[in-house]
Amino acid sequence: MDFNYTEEQLALQDTLRRFIARDYAFEQRRALAKSADGFSRPAWKTYAELGILALPFPEEFGGLNGNGVDSLLVMEMLGRGLALEPYLSTVILCGGLIRDAASTAQKEAILPALGAGELMLALAHFEPGGRHELDRVSTRATVSGKGLKLDGAKAVVLGAPAADKLIVSARDEKGISLYLVDAKAPGLALRPYPTQDGARAANMTFTGVEVDAAALIGSAGDALPIVERALDHANAALCAEAVGIMSALNEITLEYLKTRKQFGVPIGNFQALQHRMADMVIATEQARSMATLAAVRVDSADATERRRAVAAAKAYVTQSARLVGQQAVQLHGGMGVVDELNVSHYFKRLTMIGLSFGDADYHLGRFSDTLLAD
């Protein structure tokens, strides 16, 4: 039982904090969000230099052997900075999937490049009308020559516009399988768009996209447990990001309560607002506890334990984030609802975190169902 970061972790945290302060001030971020890429390629390079792109991968593939707690730390800092780079989709989600499920050859081909900042990935799994359910895959994989042909459509693929390669799920007679597909492959069409929080995503169609047999990740028909595990990693990371944002919002709101004057006194003198602020602090502390739980348990070899902790954390953190986000806006009054201040941007990101890879009700349901097995 130990709730402390190691020396190395503290050093990394400090480095990231300074990076965010220097390279990710609010006005810089606004400009990035409006740029063509929607994020900073120099920042991505810096991430590579700092080692966080290689953090969660085994040493033998150029990684740093990081665990869920290391990712917690990084994601919390990226959350505070509202960083726009596709760290979650490339490193946590796709990198984690490759690490946990790919062949050695695939890992060698991907992980070092990914850690060096030379490769970006996106997971093309969810489909139109599929909501948050993992098994709603209609994209077909059919035999074609020595390889396969993919046909279908994918929806709201996070990080897709910048991705060099995609991990695509498709169904054949064996079930659902995962394939590594080049983003420039003929027959693959993208409709990119910004997301509500300033990131980038895309819908895409696959029309006879050819892949060779070596593109298969894991065993044929085995995609679902692989995707579920990767998404658990992503959701644990989102919890950490949310906690970073909530902490930042609390600091900003507290400062506002102390400086904004109405009726001749700082509005923080009003007890109703004081208690609201206390509620926000309590919610954030509790959310931090749950994010910690998820960060530790997501590495568990026991899938049930992993699923239970991540579902619990995502449901709870999303509920807490809703309270903190809504009240941070409310306590800022008019200043909370304008584009010009960072409060609304934190709020939008918090909201979208809650809706990504399963909303609070979805994860509450996942958790609730585990009670039947008790």
Binding site: F126, P128, G129, R131, H132, E133, R136, A153, A155, V156, L158, A189, R191, Y193, P194, T195, Q196, D197, A201, N203, M204, T205, K261, Q262, F263, G264, I267, F270, A272, L273, Q326, V329, Q330, G333, G334, G336, V337, V338, D339, E340, S344, H345, F347, K348, T351, M352, L355, S356, D359, D361, L364, G365
Partner: protein, 405 residues
């Protein structure tokens, strides 16, 4: 005690429906029901149509051109307009400055301004809040200095809604710094075309331009544009704020949006079945519907009591605060559920999706015609618990005015 409408009231409702069927332009209702971006002309066109029918200002007394409807009739009218997707009648002229002009303006002011409000000629906006004066409105600093037959205005207003289209702005200005803050405030009508007036957009978190700052730099305003007496503006302002809050219950609009939510939940799917069959989500809809059922009756109780007698000309009582709090909360819950209903499709930000002529693209097909505006709506209506006197201020009013705490 009878919750049924009378035969006359039912007939009245039919009459309103018939009118809406005949006269509400289809392109306008499509925009409203689809959550599309509204242009100035959309509002003006509809106001002119209503005016032609004699229904341009339903809450006005007959002597000023109102149709002479009682509160229940007004409720029915607003409910039917909302349901049919009629553009909202903006309150700034009709429900905010007009009652003040009627109650405290001179006959000359009444004749000059009121007809141009009801016929859609003049677009009004509000100049109340300032950067340093939000909930504490009385601390406002915009100065009006009398020079001969003019006031000279210097200062800055904010949280001005749709002032970019406005012909006129009604302003609270400071004409005296003596005594209590409230005692030095005057109520002034200012031509937006006056030299020295500038409007600067404030972009809201949904990315839309709905709100402005309005700056006054040596703006000359004729003394005849003063409402009532100098330094009595606070009285008129409070009168106006009371009027502002009643409309905010928004029962008709929320009923329409609840219908829309149910419709979305019948189209979106969960586990391959209509989302509404998912018990967790259905329960959430049910819970909002309960709130709205209760609010509708609370609203009717308040409205009936007003229509029954006293206080008709005076400002609505603190019951209005209950309507404002619940009305805004329900609006927020509804937009939140609509967004949640979209699942991952809540994430895309398709700016063009708010254009009237946008109806999806092949690659966004499953995104559906309904999805584009919904997350933005959720972000947009965070304002409703803040503006018109924040819900915290409303609770102060309840505990002080109703409860005597």
């Amino acid at each position: 005690m009878d919750l049924n409408f009378t035969a006359e009231q039912r007939q009245f409702r039919e009459e309103v429906r018939g009118f809406l069927r005949d006269k509400l332009p289809a392109d306008l209702s499509r925009k409203v029901l689809g959550g599309k971006r509204m242009e100035k002309d959309d509002f003006v066109r509809w106001q002119k149509i209503l005016h032609q029918q004699g229904w341009g200002a339903i809450s006005w007394p007959a002597e000023f051109g109102g149709p002479g409807w009682n509160a229940i009739q007004q409720h029915i009218f607003e409910e039917e307009c909302a349901d049919a997707g009629a553009p909202m009648q903006l309150p700034f002229g009709l429900k905010m400055v007009a009652p003040v002009i009627m109650a405290y303006g001179s006959p000359a002011q009444q004749q000059r301004f009121l007809p141009r409000i009801v016929d859609g000629s003049d677009w009004w906006c509000q100049g109340y809040s300032e950067p340093g004066s939000g909930s504490d409105l009385a601390s406002l600093k915009t100065r009006a200095v009398r020079e001969g037959d003019h006031y000279v205005i210097n200062g800055q207003k904010t949280w001005n809604t749709l002032g970019q289209h406005a012909d006129w702005i009604f302003c609270l200005v400071r004409t005296s710094t003596e005594g209590r803050q409230q005692a030095g405030i005057s109520f002034l009508l200012i031509d937006m075309k006056s030299p020295g007036v500038s409007v600067r957009p404030i972009i809201m978190m949904d990315g839309e331009h709905e709100i402005n700052e309005v700056w006054f730099e040596d703006v000359k305003v004729p003394v005849e544009n003063l409402i009532g007496e100098e330094n009595k503006g606070w009285t008129y302002a409070k009168f106006l704020l009371g009027h502002e809050r009643t409309g905010i219950a928004g029962v008709g609009r929320s009923k329409r949006e609840l219908k829309k939510l149910k419709q979305i939940a019948s189209v979106e799917t969960a586990n391959g079945r209509p989302l509404i069959e998912d018990q967790r989500f259905r329960d959430r809809i049910a819970q909002v519907e309960l709130e709205l059922m209760a609010l509708e009756i609370t609203h009717l109780r308040v409205v009936s009591a007003e229509s029954a007698g006293e206080g008709k000309k005076g400002a609505p009582g603190p019951e209005a605060s209950i309507l404002k709090i619940k009305g805004s909360e329900i609006q927020q819950m509804l937009t939140e559920l609509k967004m949640q209903a979209l699942g991952p499709y809540a994430l895309p930000y398709i700016e063009d999706g708010l254009n009237a002529d946008w109806s999806g693209e092949p690659m966004l097909q499953a995104y559906g015609d309904h999805a584009a505006p919904l997350s933005g709506q959720y972000f947009n209506v965070r304002k409703t618990t803040i503006y018109g006197g924040s819900n915290e201020i409303q609770k102060n009013i309840i505990s002080q005015m109703i409860l005597g705490l």
